[in-house]
């Protein structure tokens, strides 16, 4: 069972507008971002199945991974 990888906000513009990807388990969030052409440093927050994780989290089967773009401040 693969995992769902979702991009929020301006991140989806970096990859041409698509915000949801079905990905294989076993890679870190960081690797997955690089594979999509996103510089990992532009990501502010990673949430896996509703809990906060780091970019070094290894994606498991059935996960829903959500990555949030860095925001624009006050």
């Amino acid at each position: 069972m693969p995992a769902i990888f979702r991009l929020s906000g301006s991140l989806k513009d970096v990859v041409g507008g698509k915000d949801e990807y079905v990905v294989e388990a076993g890679h870190t969030v960081r690797e997955q971002l690089l594979a999509l052409g996103i510089v990992p440093e532009t990501v502010a927050m990673v949430s896996v199945n509703g809990a906060m994780e780091t970019k070094d989290y290894v994606i498991q089967d059935g996960d829903t991974v959500r990555v949030l773009a860095v925001v624009g401040g006050g």
């Binding site: 979702r6 991009l7 929020s8 906000g9 301006s10 991140l11 989806k12 513009d13 970096v14 915000d19 510089v39 440093e41 532009t42 990501v43 502010a44 927050m45 949430s47 906060m52 959500r66 949030l68 773009a69 860095v70 925001v71 624009g72 401040g73 006050g74």
Partner: protein, 608 residues
């Protein structure tokens, strides 16, 4: 007029006369509202060389065509005047519910003129408009007064209030509203104080007309739906702007100890996550906002309530003064709000003074016995009070970091972190060239909200000095400030990634005039050039030198943290400016060429 309150209110404080004029249709067509109205009236009506704190300066308060309507985030109010902090253009954007109330009272702008002989407040209840005696409020804190007024007039009234710092004309005094929203930057509160206006209280019960009601409801609902369906809405709303704190620390963008570094060893203590767990009581939204960034907090340590702190305040009154305790940051935030000073400028001037103290340039004799070291929260609280009262060292700091450092000399100008006299907001720019350029060329001084380009730096390579970065900054400078013109918030687009084309049918249904984003950005470019002309008109030596960043960013690299040793070479700083001026159609001294002004359709009456 569809989408507008329909009137401009002129308040002559010298004579006490109030007068309503119809909002000119061509003004609305060409400048839309908000910041657009502000710069138009500033250039046209405030005479060249006016004293920012004198009777000739005007405070121009404007809503926009999206304010107060079924628009996600339609709650932004613009405050324009000649800035006491910089001697140039000031335009501060305030959230909350004030701008909507102006529209319901049938007003698009309020223009405060002259100086009142005694403290007053402006009372507006629909068509009943009066200047009233403010002696019972004068001298009191801004939120204390807001509470008194809410108790007296009722919750339907919205209040914008200055604190004692505004009364004392501290050059970075702000205007407070809705217990924690501010028109923060440039000293707009000092201008209101110079006019002896303690507060503006407004209630409106009128309906705002729109051109096509059904199309408007449909487009408004579509914008709300897009926000509610947005990926990340929940996380964004949980943390608001504080979501960025941990990221800034990771990439070395968190201002630390007067911008001497970009990562802070105590950052964990001021992270958004720490704050949410420890002190947040409720989410607090501006008018019409489906994704409220406002976090309302209660501190245990100080037993106090405060809206925030939001990211800028955390950066400047946290890491930049060496404080690693979110409760202490919140308390400093509260004191600034109540006293009426901008947290961004306050965090900068105090950090500069701390660096002076640690370097032995200031001694205990200068500080009045205060141990003014980084990390000393009590010293920060005390300095906020001293700045407000212009007492001791506070009197020097109340003029802003540029003037203070010029007065002290001894090389302290090199670590006075400002552009054009406005202290820099909370992004470290040793090695983020697009963001550095954004600060250098921002139309009010070193402020982030016109062009927030730091993620673009990271995406394309931080140290790169390429035309694409310059083009990106220019596009952002046209596009983002247009939200301040339209009277709405940009964060729905910035943070939730809402398709900006959703605004096009909405604006058309409201005003009855079709405009593409290209049309809207053209207005943005016209306004950008007008603000540049204003700076040049008010400052005989205005030009390239005014666009230079703090020397720290090109000659004093961080000694610690993830950006250790990194900086932008002076030749690259100049290259950025060369490319920027060229792309803008400005000359090598940074002044708009005549053909550029002609192309933008800038009227002669504003240039003369």
């Amino acid at each position: 007029m569809n989408g507008y309150g329909g009137h401009i209110l002129r308040v002559n404080l010298t004579t006490g006369q109030v007068k309503k004029e119809p909002t000119p249709a061509d003004l609305a067509r060409d400048y839309l509202g908000g910041r657009g109205f502000g710069i138009y009236f500033l250039l046209k009506e405030v005479p060249k060389g006016a004293d920012p704190l004198g009777p000739e300066n005007k405070l121009i308060i404007s809503s926009g065509p999206l304010s107060g309507l079924l628009v996600a985030g339609g709650g932004k109010c613009d405050w324009t005047c000649k800035a006491p902090l910089t001697g140039g253009y000031a335009s501060a954007s305030m959230g909350g519910h004030f701008t909507a109330e102006l529209k319901y009272a049938g007003l698009d702008s309020i223009i405060l003129e002259g100086i009142s002989p005694k403290p007053v407040y402006l009372f507006i209840d629909d068509d009943k408009i009066e200047l009233r005696d403010a002696s019972e409020y004068w001298g009191k804190g801004s939120m204390t007064v807001e509470k008194m007024m809410k108790d007296k007039f009722g919750e339907e009234f919205q209040c914008a209030v200055i604190g004692p710092a505004g009364e004392n004309m501290v050059s970075f005094a702000h205007i407070n509203h809705d217990f924690g929203r501010q028109a923060g930057r440039g000293g707009v509160g000092a201008v209101m104080g110079s006019k002896k206006v303690k507060a503006i209280v407004v209630r409106g019960t009128k309906s705002v007309p729109v051109a096509d009601l059904e199309a408007y409801r449909k487009a408004g609902m579509a914008l709300y739906k897009a926000c509610k369906d947005a990926e990340g809405l929940k996380e964004w709303t949980r943390y608001g702007t504080t979501i960025v704190t941990s990221w800034c620390n990771e990439v070395g963008a968190l201002p630390t100890r007067n911008f001497s570094a970009g990562s802070f060893e105590g950052a964990q203590g001021i992270y958004g996550q720490t704050m949410r767990e420890k002190i947040v009581v409720t989410d607090k939204g501006c008018f019409g906002c489906p994704c409220p960034c406002g976090k309302y907090s209660k501190t245990k340590k100080y037993n106090s309530y405060v809206e925030g702190p939001e990211y800028e305040t955390i950066g400047l009154l946290g890491s930049n003064v060496g404080i690693d305790d979110i409760e202490a940051v919140a308390q400093a935030n509260l004191l600034c709000d109540e006293m009426g000073i901008d947290t961004i400028s306050a965090g900068n001037v105090i950090a500069w003074a701390m660096e002076c103290y640690e370097k032995g340039i200031f001694t205990k004799q200068d500080t009045g016995g205060i141990e003014l070291k980084f990390g000393n929260a009590d010293a920060v609280f005390k300095m906020i009070e001293m700045i407000t009262k212009k007492e001791g060292l506070g009197a020097l700091l109340a003029d802003g970091v540029k003037k203070a450092s010029q007065e002290i000399g001894k090389g302290t100008e090199k670590f006075a972190i400002h552009v054009k006299g406005m202290e820099q907001s909370a992004y470290q720019t040793h090695n983020a060239t697009a963001m550095l350029l954004a600060y250098m060329t921002c139309d009010v001084g070193a402020h982030h909200n016109r062009a927030w380009a730091i993620t673009y730096d990271i995406q394309v390579g931080r140290e790169k000095v390429v035309p694409e970065k310059v083009a990106r900054v220019i596009w952002l400078q046209h596009f983002r400030p247009m939200f301040d013109v339209l009277g709405a918030c940009r964060l729905q687009w910035v943070e939730l990634g809402i398709d900006r084309d959703l605004y096009v049918p909405l604006l058309e249904a409201i005003t009855g005039i079709h405009r593409t984003w290209e049309d809207i950005e053209k207005v943005g470019e016209r306004i950008w050039n007008l603000t540049r002309l204003y700076w040049a008109r008010e400052n005989a030596d205005f030009g390239r030198a005014w666009d230079m960043p703090a020397p720290r960013f090109y000659e004093d690299p961080p000694k610690t943290g993830v950006t250790k040793g990194q900086y932008t070479k002076l030749e690259d700083v100049n290259k950025l400016l060369d490319m920027y001026y060229e792309q803008r159609g400005w000359d090598s001294n940074g002044l708009p060429k005549p053909e550029t002004l002609q192309k933008l359709g800038i009227p002669q009456e504003l240039v003369a």
